[in-house]
Amino acid sequence: MTQASDDRSGESRGGLNRPPLPIPRALRDAAIAAAIAFGLFAVMVGLRTEVSPTGALVLRQRWAEVAMLCGIVFAGRLALTLWLGRRALRPTTAPGPWAVRLQQAGRFFAPALLAAALVLPIVSGGDRYLLDLGILVLTYVMLGWGLNIVVGLAGLLDLGYVAFYGIGAYSYALLSTHFGLSFWIGLPLAGIMAAFWGVLLGFPVLRLRGDYLAIVTLAFGEIIRVVLNNWVSLTGGPNGVSGIPRPSFFGLPFSMSGEPDTFAGFFGLEPSPSHRVIFLYYLILGLALLTNWVTIRLRRQPLGRAWEALREDEIACRALGINVTVTKLSAFALGAMFGGFAGAFFATRQAFVSPESFTFIESAIILAIVVLGGLGSQVGVAVAALVMIGGFELFRDLGEYRMLVFGGVMVVIMILRPRGLVGTRTPSVALGEKRAIGGDLVGEGRG
């Protein structure tokens, strides 16, 4: 089996533009794929372990499903081979046809996206589901932009970003429930708290590079989650913190009573529950845009240039006298601060936080958004968040298969476009005219 597959891989490498294969070869190829599928599915799908009423485990046989899956693999492989020849599933960093079109429309694309985000609450007419989805997507856009500072600009691979999100959320939750601080005071405090922890994490990892950095940040994320889960007297353990105050419109609460000192009463509007949702929507939109604005501005300043220089070549940075310690710590701190802001927003929106919201999978999803968007590309991150989170919601009907599809889509996008959905970057500094360059010309950073 291995031998046969190696033959095929050898051919596929040279066969980029070959005409489609003859049908017998394609059939044989599909048959091999189906045989492999049978090997994979026979045990795991064909024999399902179930707990019987007596408590013992029994096996239920499901050969029809196995046959169906093998059939799907056979048909899929055959269709793919006949349709695309051997060109299928080759990774490319060259801009695809739609990417070129996107680039042509690029000047209008980002403003159009922004305009769409701005008018969504008005167009949707207060549709609760759409607004909630918008808030969710924007939260991830903001987290993606925050992590982009660390991973995309400074080139430090952070697998525990969710820790800062969690720290921000818990900071605000505890400050507001214990000391009655309002959202507008709690928000900066949560950001400062997260930034503080970012620096605290940054110090020990300054010497680490690449994958060592990745595993330490992952460990840090897990440590924070375990502590949140077990420090019952402070965080409430697995039960979390509930009763977090809802945000008010600069002191005017959103209430259904219509009194003069509520939002609806003050502006003479009909009290409606959608006011709060619309307010939350614009709040997260504003926070996300703040993140974006700070990032764009910083990229033009010495600090941002030092980040990008660090990503491209750390040794050269040292040689040129850039203070690597300050550069790395500031990237960690700023990224963490925006994570903390997002966390505070999350806490006030949910009115409840628990450690379950801050698992490793969240970090992985945020990192995936950054990488799928194309490291360092602001528009790319927004598009990736929209595709991943919006798409995830669209497939709500899939039920338990939804995560399966989600992971599969992640793999497929990565295989087809390893440099992300937006494959081009605009350099921060250029001699003469600024032109978009291919994403593969940008360094990835080794931590």
Binding site: L47, E50, E222
Partner: protein, 304 residues
Amino acid sequence: MAYALQQLINGISLGMIYGLIAVGYTMVYGIIGMINFAHGDVFMIGAFIALITALLLSAGGMLDGPAAILLMLLISMAFTAFYGWTMERVAYRPLRGSFRLAPLITAIGLSIVLQNYVQVSQGARVKPMEALLPGGIEVMRDGGFVVQLSFTQMLIIGVTLAVLAVFTLLVTRTPLGRAMRACEQDRKMAALLGIDTDRTISLTFVIGAALAAVAGTMYLLRYGVIDFYIGFLAGVKAFTAAVLGGIGSLPGAVLGGLLIGLIETFWSAYFSVQYKDVAAFSILVLTLIFLPTGLLGRQEVEKV
């Protein structure tokens, strides 16, 4: 004293399991420089296949004796290795030579796929299995406290040592092992000298998955309860072990696994069970601060 001895036994048998998984991580990292995040889930699949084999055997009334365990081990190794091979072929090979983060994200995606695949195909409920090897031998008696070395623990230690011995022979004495080491040093040069690097990398994944299957089977025998989520934490711990021992170093992976197992067990025994993961990870962070390349890792030479 007796209590500490018991913890030592428990820690070593847990560490052996981590070590077996860590070897898979470190091998793949050494040869293609990627963190195979889905490796923990391969371990989980190994445990499930072993469980299904055990149920098949018990349906045939043959579930007893060493032959049954050997059969579980072999079948689990074979099918899990097949999963490892397919993973590499479908998800990682197209990204060979791509930039570093791409395979990492693919691996995270694959990990999500495998977890949910098992959840969908086998159900989300915890699967209990009755002990195959009950009992043990009494090592020491100290007052009312009896130090026990259970047969399962003996099996774990024995099987792990045997598998690792075979594996060490494979890496140091066979043409395949030589090819693997050559690929690890310089893949392009190895290819120029006539080594089929694609095949070598495939086989690395196959061997890594087979070792993870051994770990999965041992885990099933020792703890008797598995579910679709066991792979994540075990995977993270094993990766921690690999990094602790110095990633890319095979003896380092086993040493790191043993250390993590011991730290975790002793911390749970003497301090608190809740914070055992924090202890393991803190030790990792501390080690890396003072020894940035792990215990047995080679110092990386920075080149301009």
